[in-house]
Symmetry: C2
Subunit: 355 residues, 2 copies
């Protein structure tokens, strides 16, 4: 077990903003929730998969909605433990550990606050090691696990438990219900044993996120070779540098959707267009896909290296686009159908970042 | 306990069609389900509220959706027991008896089939003694009981349990979820003890329905004084006789909505307009409301005295409109807000049938 310290939390928050790939909600709000939870309920222990009993029951917990809504409808806190309790009620079993469903965005940190409030450890593992817009887009689905039973709760005390025949149906039902409850709700899903998590989860994603955050902090402090170290750690590359010349956003069918176009600083004939579905999902340079899901598209302020979320995008912003390879656990089984370009409705082939 | 015999079932089905007030789904389909269930699982016992332990847990079970959809998407059967089991799972308690939520339409008979499949008695009581389009419109709500925890299930195996802060919110959530699952689903709701049911339910509504069906069968057989006996039994009156001259129907926002206009046989300047929301809800004669909810508007074929459901309405049909006073249990507490005209969005005052 590793106890979360204040510096961890800073690096974790920064790393989570980067792995949010523009979406996933603002981790800074979640960081405040974690700090409050530590004050109210005591320190938080993060466990590796090896440290818990194989039979222990784990569930993920997250906020579900559109980031554009979440920044205006800040979680009150009790809906997360309500969601876990509703799941536990439905299953008739105690949840013995909490795990993030996505390490990326605010859902990286919320599980820490929930874990200490429930008095259980938080697992250092997740199902994405990035943010994705839909709940079935996980290494858990690729390993054949069901997202249900799962639960949804709002800040008023409404609770819903779901048991669905497929993870895709689970996404449809939970999203539809969240739209009725205000589109910024708590979900608890993918209940599994630690043994199942060992097979299906991305291991050590919290530690990865924290180290990534540390590297990015070094870049922001302009430490020598900081960019090189960040790129070496992630295996990523800088994909584009320029300024935003066009922007189109709308919140529809339960998602924040849009398109952002960036023009190269040096050569105005070169542009990159990025498609948004809560997250930055697909980068097209001069008509040719260059970064495709499940790989990560991260946008940073060109001067400060602060990650930019899609809801704060603005015309004229000067940005740097970072392309990071996804966790290897996302390339298993039918991964192209679940997390590849076609899963998001894009009619393009996957392009390897190594290619 | 009273064992359901074949003649009971015939009268119950006919009575249920009349109390369906044009909606509530076709009880004939439900009758076939009951006959099949008796063959598969054995005879059905109907109990009065006095015959069960006060502590026994009862839940209602019903089909929820738009009648226009239900006649094309016939219940498969397993979704009803799935709904009861999902509710039981969520509550962590065994459901010891089943009760109709509405005695009116197919939801009168479905609980009988579910009861024998689950091996529990069916209570002779309900929350409406008619059909209503929304789940919160019950004597249970008027007595302060919660409709949740409640559950929804479809024929594919998807199950949802809800715990809501109000019965109105329960209606919104369950209706929205049913729209996602095809708008013809099984619900189980209003779990309560027998002691609570004694206070909150309409007693003996199945027996009332069966006797009403017997009287209507006598009318159809043209037995002497049959109409007089039916009107004396119900306290109702014949409100209009004429032919349908206009009809407008649409399935929208989870309901079958519409308007039907009838012209008096003798005097073509006299017309009655009836507003539909799954059920026949409001009758307006020459601009003046004459039958208002919660009282019942029943439409019968003028020749055969066969009840007409809203989905089989047709231009030129010759009909008789029967107005029946509602169960007295629907006039308790804030009844005008829950089952009066304004609860359906009609800006008219309640008109007593005795007035």
């Amino acid at each position: 077990m590793r106890r979360i310290a204040s510096e961890d939390l800073d690096h974790l928050t920064l790393g989570a903003t980067l792995l949010g790939t523009g979406g996933g909600g603002d981790p800074f709000i979640a960081k405040l929730m974690v700090e409050q939870a530590i004050e109210d309920f005591g320190p938080i222990d993060v466990a590796t998969l090896d440290e818990l009993d194989d039979d222990a029951l784990v569930a993920t917990v997250a906020v579900l909605g559109a980031p554009t809504v979440i920044i205006e409808k800040i979680p009150s806190g009790s809906e997360f433990t309500d969601a876990v309790r509703a799941l536990s009620s439905y299953m008739g079993r105690k949840i013995q550990a909490i795990m993030p469903v996505e390490v990326g965005g605010m859902n990286t940190l919320i599980p820490l606050a929930v874990a200490t409030e429930l008095g259980v450890p938080c697992l250092d593992a997740d199902g994405m090691r990035r943010a994705f817009p839909q709940i079935e887009m996980t290494s858990f689905t690729l390993a054949g696990l069901s997202s249900s039973p799962m639960s949804l709760a709002d800040e008023k005390g409404n609770k819903i438990a779901f048991e669905t025949v497929s993870n895709q149906m689970g996404e449809r039902l939970v999203r539809g219900s969240a739209m009725m409850l205000g589109l910024a709700n708590a979900v608890s899903l993918y209940p599994m044993t630690v043994a199942q998590a060992k097979d299906a989860a991305v291991w050590g994603s919290m530690r990865y996120c924290s180290e990534l955050g540390g590297h990015l902090r070094a870049v922001q402090r302009q430490e020598p070779d900081a960019w090189d170290r960040l790129l070496a750690f992630t295996g990523g590359r800088i994909a584009f540098e320029g300024k935003i010349i066009d922007l189109d956003r709308r919140t529809t069918t339960g998602f924040a959707r849009g398109t952002v176009t960036i023009e190269d600083f040096a050569d105005p004939t070169r542009t990159m267009r990025i498609e948004i579905q809560n997250e930055l999902l697909l980068a097209i340079e001069d008509g040719r896909p260059v970064v495709t899901p499940p790989d990560l598209i991260c946008m940073l302020d060109h001067e400060t290296a602060e990650p930019i979320t899609t809801e704060t995008l603005a015309y004229g912003q000067r940005v740097r686009i970072l392309a990071l390879p996804c966790a290897p656990e996302l390339k298993r089984g039918d991964w192209l159908d679940v997390v590849g370009p076609s899963a998001f409705g894009y009619d393009v082939d996957y392009v390897s970042l190594e290619g």
